[in-house]
């Protein structure tokens, strides 16, 4: 029986570019911005890096394929660079590759970097594109918000929640993230909003209005990982270590089999159960101190609270309205603004989430810093659509946690 990755990997350096509409920067500029910060944070020269994993999802809009764009942008010394793509979990996938490489002993120090340059399409939102020649023949004409909006009607039906109550809880999710984003100098959206503004916003995909949807941003984020021993030799006396790395990928059951009613994410439930097992967490609601989840849409964050086994099934609306996940709540979720306000450059997002937890755990989160130093934090990505997706879970924590 595999014992997992717990405490085998330490994060020694992280970097994150400012997210937003970076009209005057190429993807390569964003990569360098994040990497320079991480290298300085780690306190090493780049020739110490043995291998790199490079994440982008919609590469045809910016860098093109392969690991070459990263190697060229950073002038890496002919080391192995692997490009990964797993929808919105791409950044976490790069982190997983780098962590596994170090854990295997194949490398001492590895880099995971994700980037997305989405603001060159000429319009807002994610690019409209082909889904593959066979899929295009029969897939519904869905956008990302439309696919995730399905969660709302199915969740309402499953838990018999009035439309208005769910819409109000969804609004609270977004109001909270805007309040958090306002305190984050690197966030794309830094304006505070109120519930009325969310409820009265133009509809994007019923019932998701404009403020139920995350921003589409340009940005990059990266992590440098090594073993805890090497980390200590680098002067990191209390390195942040990886407790769990899990991925669950749909096999078509949700899309085709009646066992799924559309109200939850099968993959998130499975991946989180495996992650808690790997990290030795019995009661995640008590054990976890910070959450950074894939709040691509307000409804996604809401149902994810249940799928992560934090809120009871059907109980997320109450927890959300109680402020349980607010910045000053028991278990803050998206304390950096989340995808909603920090922004969502797809390939970078998983690493951006880790970046915030890393800052909080090393007491460098500025205005957003939690009073009590967080011991365990969880990141969650959801790539694709509720009925067919990739879910990643990463749990990191203080050395002893």
């Amino acid at each position: 029986m595999a014992k997992g990755i717990r405490d085998k990997i330490a994060i020694v350096g992280m970097g994150c570019s400012k997210f937003g509409e970076r009209w005057n920067d190429n993807a390569e500029d964003l990569m360098r911005e994040a990497f320079t910060e991480a290298l300085g944070d780690a306190g090493i020269e780049k020739d110490r890096i043995d291998a790199a994993w490079f994440a982008t999802a919609i590469e045809e809009q910016h860098t093109g394929k392969s690991g070459i764009p990263l190697a060229v942008a950073l002038r890496l010394p002919l080391i192995p660079v692997t490009r990964v793509e797993n929808f919105c979990a791409s950044g976490s996938e790069a982190f997983r590759g780098a962590a596994y490489a170090v854990a295997s002993g194949a490398c001492d120090i590895a880099l995971a970097l994700g980037v997305e340059k989405l603001k060159d399409t000429g319009y807002g939102g994610l690019p409209q594109r082909s889904r593959g020649s066979v899929n295009d023949l029969y897939w519904a004409n869905f956008s990302a918000p439309g696919a995730f909006a399905q969660l709302a009607s199915a969740y309402r039906a499953r838990h018999k929640i009035p439309r208005e109550d769910l819409k109000r809880a969804m609004a609270h999710v977004s109001v909270k993230s805007h309040a958090n984003g306002a305190k984050n100098p690197k966030a794309h959206l830094r304006n505070r909003i109120d519930e009325d503004r969310v409820l009265n916003a133009p509809m994007v995909a019923e019932p998701l209005g404009l403020f139920d949807c995350c921003g589409v941003s340009d940005g990059a984020a990266c992590a440098i990982v090594t073993t805890p021993e090497i980390a200590r030799s680098m002067g990191k006396s209390r390195p942040i270590t990886v407790k769990a790395l899990q991925l669950a990928v749909s096999n078509g059951a949700e899309a085709q089999h009646n066992s799924w009613d559309g109200s939850h994410l099968m993959t998130t439930r499975k991946a989180s159960e495996r992650a808690y097992e790997e990290a030795g967490i019995r009661d995640p609601r008590q054990a976890l101190d910070l959450l950074e989840v894939h709040d691509c849409f307000s409804i996604t964050e809401l149902v994810t609270m249940e799928d992560l086994h934090i809120s009871p099934e059907g109980g997320a609306v109450k927890d959300v309205m109680d402020g349980f996940f607010d910045a000053d709540g028991a278990l803050p979720c998206q304390i950096d603004g989340g995808l909603k306000c920090f922004g969502h450059p797809i390939g970078a997002s998983g690493l951006r989430m880790l970046y915030e937890i890393y800052l909080q755990m090393t007491e460098r989160a500025g205005e957003r810093q939690r009073q009590k130093e967080p011991a365990l934090g969880l990141t969650h990505n959801l790539g694709g659509f509720p009925h067919q997706n990739v879910c990643s879970i990463v749990i990191v924590g203080q050395s002893g946690a």
């Binding site: 594109r129 023949l137 029969y138 956008s143 709302a152 439309r163 995909a205 019923e206 998701l208 089999h257």
Partner: protein, 546 residues
């Protein structure tokens, strides 16, 4: 002038009939008001409504729906095995229909057989002859005559004759008001059926009242008075006299006269000139549907067959570069058994009642490309169809054929090498299973204003098929009036309909697929039987008719 008298021992007839009228009805007063500044005379056409196909409907999709309406009806005829038998016995049972003929002047494809697409959507099998008949407003009646002649030729297999029309009309033209989109389908076979052919006659005259040349988007139309007085009033009576003489009938013997013309006074004039009873003139559906071109005589005939008693004589005329005249006599089969009258699933009458008013003339203009709308950069995505891809998957795409696992019985769409059931996952156990006639219910939905669509918002969601299987699929026929209409609640009954999936304007191609439409309103008009529907329909829960 052709003369085709039929020997009485070679009786042929119509054995089943059906039709289709799009749910959306454009209110003509709105159109007249929009054009009042330009041509106030159009106010003369401002009464009533016309049926308008949505952007995802064309002559092919409407023909498919008309044929489903016909074949899915409640027929005492043993010509067609119920679909239930067809499903269990495999392909052979569906091969009962030997010919599929489609008449239209608005075929979506110039060189790709349109009737062939209809036959694939209906899963009629490949041992079938398919034929497009077009080129004239008379195409519908000519197709029916052709079918009668083939049936009289001795082969016992039934023929499916459909007429379907979606005419594109210029804004502020009279045709914009008088046209309607509709289709009808008739099953013709040896034997009397519900209406026996008495005689038919044709007169060919190159009378050009209007025409549409190559690449011309619209008809070029000559003066109405001339069309009526020199065309209809002279050519139609001549042909009627001929067909009556062949049948040995007097004009006064006619009970129903179907004249598919929107020209005012034409019907009354012909009735007077020929001696037909004044009351025989049938409603041309001008106020509720509009004239559906080549399909219209078949639409009117199908409509009459829904209500007329046995032993009534029907005269159907098709006019265009001459005239077709068809004489039919209804039979006792129309009375049905046990007092239950046989009929189509909804029929023209049922479809006329299944409607919603559309007062959004701008939408009509936009979706018919009569007004250049800013489609936005999202519309620029390439919608090329790989012809290899389509051919390889054509049963899945055109017939909504998925799979059924022979080990665990799980139904799924699409079919796959490994069963989707998490408790089975058996290899190579799937047999074909079509979902097109299976009732479904909605599990989730949205109205999407971000994704590019010809007619935003794009409605779609997860539907669950009765008996198993589910799919995220586009919706059709959602009524206007908000993105959260009551018909869009999880659990709502849905019915699959054959529609255009995507248009590829760059290459002039269009691909077809099935969509889910609210089935709720159909229950009002449904016929009493489930004959012809999927086996699972009788298992309770969602019912699309009955």
């Amino acid at each position: 002038m052709t003369r085709n008298a039929l020997a009485t021992d070679a009786a042929v007839g119509i054995h089943a009939f059906g039709g289709y009228i799009p749910k959306r009805r454009l209110q003509k007063k709105i159109v007249a008001k929009a054009h009042a500044w330009f041509n106030p005379a159009l106010a003369a056409h401002a009464k009533g409504e016309r049926a308008i196909a949505d952007w995802d409907e064309d002559a092919i999709t409407m023909a498919v729906e008309a044929a489903r309406d016909c074949l899915g009806g409640d027929w005492s005829s043993s010509l067609l095995p119920p679909r239930t038998a067809a499903e269990s016995e495999g392909e052979d049972a569906q091969n009962t229909i030997a010919h599929a003929i489609l008449a239209s002047t608005t075929f979506p494809f110039q060189d790709r057989q349109n009737a062939g697409v209809v036959a694939e959507a209906l899963r009629l099998g490949r041992r079938i002859s398919t034929l497009d008949i077009g080129g004239s407003q008379r195409a519908g009646t000519s197709a029916l005559i052709t079918a009668f002649e083939i049936a009289a030729g001795g082969r016992n297999a039934p023929l499916l004759v459909s007429g379907s029309e979606k005419r594109r009309t210029r804004a502020a033209s009279p045709l914009e008001f008088t046209s309607g989109d509709a289709a009808a389908a008739l099953l013709v076979a040896p034997g009397e059926g519900v209406a026996r052919l008495l005689a038919h006659a044709t007169c060919a005259v190159d009378f050009v009242d209007h025409y549409r040349g190559p690449d011309a988007p619209f008809d070029y139309v000559w003066e109405e008075r001339w069309i009526r007085d020199e065309g209809l009033m002279k050519i139609v009576p001549e042909t009627i006299a001929d067909v009556l003489s062949k049948a040995g009938l007097e004009a006064r013997a006619i009970d129903h006269f179907c004249l598919p013309s929107a020209l005012r006074g034409a019907g009354a004039g012909i009735v007077k000139a020929t001696g037909l009873p004044a009351e025989s003139l049938c409603d041309n559906l001008q106020g509720v549907c509009g004239e559906a071109g080549a399909a219209h005589p078949l639409v009117m005939l199908s409509h009459i067959l829904e209500s007329t008693p046995p032993e009534r004589t029907i005269l159907v005329v098709g006019f265009g570069q001459g005239c077709d005249a068809i004489l039919l006599r209804t039979t006792s089969a129309l009375a049905g058994e046990d007092g239950k009258r046989p009929g189509p699933r909804l029929g023209i009458g049922g479809h006329l009642k299944r409607r919603f008013e559309d007062t959004n003339y701008q939408r009509y203009l936009g979706t018919n490309d009569l007004l250049q709308m800013e489609q936005g950069l999202r519309s620029e995505v390439d919608r090329q169809t790989g012809l290899t891809t389509l051919y390889r998957n054509r049963e899945m795409i055109h017939g909504l054929v998925g799979g059924r696992c022979t080990r665990c019985g799980t139904r799924q769409f699409p079919k796959s090498g490994i069963c989707v059931n998490p408790n089975c996952h058996a290899d190579d156990t799937q047999v074909d299973h079509s979902f097109s006639e299976t009732p479904a219910s909605m599990r989730s939905y949205t109205a999407d204003r971000l994704t590019w669509s010809m007619a935003p918002p794009a409605y779609y969601g997860m539907v669950q098929f009765e008996g198993g299987g589910q799919a995220m699929i586009d919706f059709a026929d959602i009524e206007p009036g908000g993105d959260s209409a009551p018909e869009l609640e999880p659990g709502a009954p849905m019915r699959m309909v054959f529609r255009i999936k995507d248009l590829d304007p760059r290459r002039g191609f269009r691909r077809y697929f099935w969509k889910a439409a609210p089935a709720g309103t159909d229950t009002i008009e449904g016929s009493a039987s489930d004959n012809g529907e999927a086996p699972s329909q009788t298992q309770g829960g969602v019912k699309s008719d009955g």
